[in-house]
Symmetry: C2
Subunit: 337 residues, 2 copies
DNA sequence: ACGAAAAATGACAACGTTGTCAAACGACTT
DNA sequence: AAGTCGTTTGACAACGTTGTCATTTTTCGT
């Protein structure tokens, strides 16, 4: 119901009886503004429904207000979770969220990163696995003095913001879930070794086995690569072996789907003959038949916090905390009820 | 190897011996610049590696250089195809690509559109199904005078750019593919009725049946909703019926996957006992086991052209052509070889 | 209560582009 | 050759913000 005219800092300044510059300072969280004026300005701005003009800001400050998420993960579910979280946090603070694929297939992928960073001015970077483990990439970003936030890094970096779940504990939790349901012969389908999180999940798997006094020789470890096909292949390996496993822990949902399809083909029933659990709680895990029990991480929340802290860092030029851990939850569904 | 300093129009103007304004005109494809000067300026700019400053452009021209894609389609594969196409076309012309979900679940989704359009200045809009069929949405955009491009609209709009495939012919082509492989008893699993393209595919299906002299009563038509689950349910309906169909045409890949999984569960073999074909050629169609024969449309190319034409329209304020049809291709895979 | 130092504030010039409008130029007509 | 009209060009002021630096106000130690 407000008038359409675009408000400027000028309008706010007049209404509040302060100078333009003071208003500017308030909106940039600059120090050296009396709290009383800060509140006054903020109040007036809210009343009038003022929104800063980003272009003008960019032009005058030579900052871009662009945060970029570099990824190389074909899982669209995960990506859009991150993107949504980023976007929400960005719009709170007048930043732009951009996502850019940095394919490690591409031989010159480091070059294309450098290209990107020199071409487009970028105020902050968010990396997700497996790139959050790429030291060369992180070094280049650091060298340019660009604040950087890592999502689920294998090793936490002191010079970055780290946002993560405890992968090992999650892996252990999932394994214990299987054990509690009476499964004593288990298989673990791993992901790619370049994906540190995957090894940590596996460590959790073995730690649960040990803690519950199960025998290592009753367990199978099959190497996968996160693809549906590798889950399919994993089941075939399982079927050939002497060990009769009744519970399968797949390193992600896609491999879980592959495993289930392969099992169905041989006439086995899920979960009656074999139980399968996944990891990531993707949309396909929910819509598969049977729906797949999977470990959910609050990826959108993680991305949101990651972005907020990154923006704080950019705005204030200092980091208070580095590390933020998030809880996980097992979504119990029919594939292992 | 160039110096790092950011070039401005000023630099180009000096080097070329013309005024700042003339350079500006050249970069905006404004009329009334002598061809000779135009070439000169363009040449100098290329030599120096000049790139216009978008923020300054936005500020001075009050345009946003933002194109927005409104979607409400959970298929990430399709979406990222569109996004990639948009992005490429945008970066050619210095525009920004933004994607925004406009959920029809949300009761007030038209409001959120209006909100968006009034909040953020937007120079052009791209709509994909099912939103490209929403007259109310299109009307609101038109009312604001924002150029609009539709991807695969059910009915082509004269005031918009339309980019599409011939859905009916595609449906017919796919059906004939099944018929040529000896299937005479077929099932068609439809998508949501709100999705006009789906009905057109179905029309193609029936036209092929008729053209090949097959009997309508040997055919089954099952209503689905594009979800994996509905594909699953469709197979169960199929199994219950008396008609023994050997070929299934699913309205999209997800329903094809559901159908296949359901078939596998009953011990049937695909494609030996039943052949299934899908539509869209999504990543899951490729990585499913068996991989699914599916109809591919060049969605990325379509989005790219759509975007280019939209930008032309914005820049020149006129549209030469409205309609652009693209070819399709059947990707033959194991689910119906 | 006084001065010195620190904190808060403001005036004004950037930032790199486009819009406006007036001036210069060219091609015609007479 | 002068006059007319359309085309091409350019000077200069926006656009809405931040950076710089000078000025004012507050705080604090004595």
């Amino acid at each position: 119901m407000n008038d359409e005219k675009n408000l400027t800092i000028q309008d706010i300044a007049e209404k509040a009886g302060v100078s333009i510059k003071t208003v500017s300072r308030v909106f940039n969280n600059s120090p050296n503004v009396r709290q009383q004026k800060r509140d006054l300005v903020l109040g007036v701005a809210r009343d009038l429904g003022y929104r800063p003009n980003i272009s003008a800001r960019q032009l005058a400050s030579k900052r871009s207000f662009v945060l970029i998420h570099f990824y190389d993960n074909p899982n669209m579910d995960y990506l859009s979770g991150i993107y949504d979280g980023m976007r929400e946090a960005c719009s709170e603070k007048g930043y732009y969220a951009v996502a850019e694929r940095l394919s490690s297939q591409n031989r010159s992928y480091k070059d294309s990163l450098l290209d990107y960073l020199t071409r487009t001015p970028v105020d902050g970077v968010i990396l997700s696995p497996p790139i959050s483990d790429d030291k060369a990439v992180i070094r280049e970003i650091e060298k340019r003095g660009i604040p950087c936030s890592l999502i689920s890094p294998g090793i936490k970096k002191r010079h970055c913001i780290n946002v993560f779940i405890d992968e090992k504990t999650a892996g252990r939790k999932m394994t214990e879930f299987l054990i509690e349901r009476g499964h004593t012969k288990l298989a673990f389908i791993s992901g790619l070794d370049t994906h540190t999180a995957s090894s940590q999940r596996e460590a959790g798997f073995w730690s649960a086995i040990e803690a519950h006094g199960l025998k290592r020789k009753d367990m199978m470890r099959i190497g996968g690569d996160f693809s549906m096909q590798s889950g399919f292949a994993a089941f075939e390996a399982l079927a050939k072996s002497k060990t009769r496993v009744t519970g399968v822990f797949a390193g992600n949902d896609e491999m879980a789907i592959g495993t289930i399809i392969a099992a169905l083909r041989t006439g086995m029933k899920v979960p009656e003959d074999i139980s399968v659990v996944g990891f990531d709680d993707s949309a396909f895990a929910r819509s598969m038949w049977p729906p797949i029990t999977s470990l959910a991480q609050p990826i959108e929340e993680m991305a949101k916090l990651s972005t907020r802290k990154l923006i704080d860092w950019i705005d204030t030029k200092e980091r208070i905390e580095n590390d933020f851990e998030f809880p996980t939850e097992i979504m119990v569904r029919d594939s292992c009820p």
